[in-house]
């Protein structure tokens, strides 16, 4: 099952793209597991997810902690801590 993944700020810069469609393998059930799996996809991903504890995630535009199950997510986003306002 494919899901749209978005990257922002320096996560986007390190990976070199703003979004992509991915199809994670069956063993990847949570957001944290997805980050781990993404980190294994190449140097640019390894660099982006080198310190997964600083990366924030959102499923379908809502903040979620890494233990959240991906389930039927349409859109998953990864980004650094926010600095708006």
């Amino acid at each position: 099952m494919s899901v749209k993944v978005l990257y922002f700020a320096w996560v986007r810069e390190r990976i070199g793209k703003a979004q992509e469609e991915i199809e994670p393998p069956a063993g990847v059930a949570t957001v944290g597991e997805l980050m781990h799996w993404l980190a294994g996809r190449g140097e640019e991903y390894a660099s982006a997810f080198a310190n997964p504890r600083v990366i924030r995630a959102a499923i379908d535009r809502t903040h979620v902690p890494p233990e959240t199950r991906i389930g039927q997510a349409n859109e998953i986003a990864f980004f650094p801590p926010m600095t708006g306002g």
Partner: protein, 157 residues
Amino acid sequence: MNARLQTEDFDVAAEAAALRNGRTDIGAIVTFTGVCRGTEAGEPIAAITLEHYPEMAQAEISRHVAEAERRWPLMGVTVVHRYGRIEPGDNIVLVVTAAAHRQDAFAAAEFLMDYLKTRAPFWKREERPSGSAWVEARETDDRAAARWTRRKPEAAE
């Protein structure tokens, strides 16, 4: 509720006037304007660029405005957040709150700003003489936002 994301500047007076418009039940109006500063940690800043996640930013801001309206008896709330390139002295963000009494207007404006700083998906990049760099999140902003969940635990997300 009026929550907008835009590249163009905003007019604080016009936004406040729109909330007051003809009403005589409002006793207090607070505006907060966040402005781009020309130096950070002693280094000059030529400009900042704000990246954002448009659909989520709109949803997050609307959720927090709705949460503010649940917590305080507000008579109007406006939030405008700019994105794109912004130069020193120019506006970044606006919060306007209107209420019968000042405590509600102040509390709601502070609540919204604390949450915008820590939860709204915006990222600032600074143009410095030493190069361009992403702004790091400030721990003091997280602490400022945390006080609202401590105060009313049922509202924690």
